[in-house]
Amino acid sequence: MTTLNSVTVYKVNIFLQPSSNNMFQEDIYLQSYPFTTAAAIIGFVDRKVNAVLIGGRSIIGVLRTFDQFGNLVIHDGVERVYFPETKQYGESLKPQIYVIRGENLRMIGDLDIDIEDKSLIGWERIDFIDAYNRFKKDIRDEKNKKKEDAVKILEYGAFV
């Protein structure tokens, strides 16, 4: 019950305190463990987050739970891929539950829902299936180029 109380206390706090204030949920919730993975991520729970995976895909949804390895559970998540060169992006249509293995996580951040909609102005949304295939092809091409380059660089001198 004490845990429940501290969560309630926090929920009151977020409405009272501006986000620029240096008070975070972890300060109240995990005061005795200020430097753990759990303390760092707990502030994102029940918020809309963007989890960027290794490879560059983004999962956008509500973070429900996590553990010390950075494994995440995201509810109502959609997958998004960006093509900065052409200012296009693709987004999956059906929101799903995502369980993400921490190993594959590059970064997670909480979205400012006030700016979020405006942030994609100027970006063209394209069909997700096409976008996804193009994204995978880009990754494959880049990998192949890297392999070829590695051989060439090795020919220039002893570089691992």
Partner: protein, 100 residues
């Protein structure tokens, strides 16, 4: 544990993190954990190139993706860091002998 403690002293300072995929992130260090995962606030990234960062406020970065962390020399006592490195090396050597 040396660099864990080291980064703890840099909390609230502005740092620049360069990731293994060449993204450069400038931000205020909020917290660090034993794996050197970082939490950054007020981040600045070239969002033209990396739109994933659009509308993000604070981020949790997994330590394994980090290549470099650029630090402000005025926030670091390099002599202290050198001494700490020596002491840590001695401590770990001691452990090995004790463990034999």
């Amino acid at each position: 544990m040396l660099f864990f403690s080291f980064f703890k002293t840099l909390v609230d300072q502005e740092i620049t993190v360069e990731l293994k995929n060449d993204i450069q992130i400038v931000g205020t260090l909020l917290s660090v954990d034993q794996y050197l995962n970082l939490k950054l606030d007020n981040i600045q990234v070239d969002t033209e190139k990396y739109p994933q960062f659009l509308a993000l406020k604070s981020i949790f970065l997994r330590g394994t993706n980090i290549r470099y962390i650029h630090l402000n020399p005025s926030t670091v006592d390099t002599n202290l860091l050198q001494d700490a490195s020596r002491r840590e090396a001695m401590a770990s050597a001691g452990e090995k002998i004790a463990g034999r």
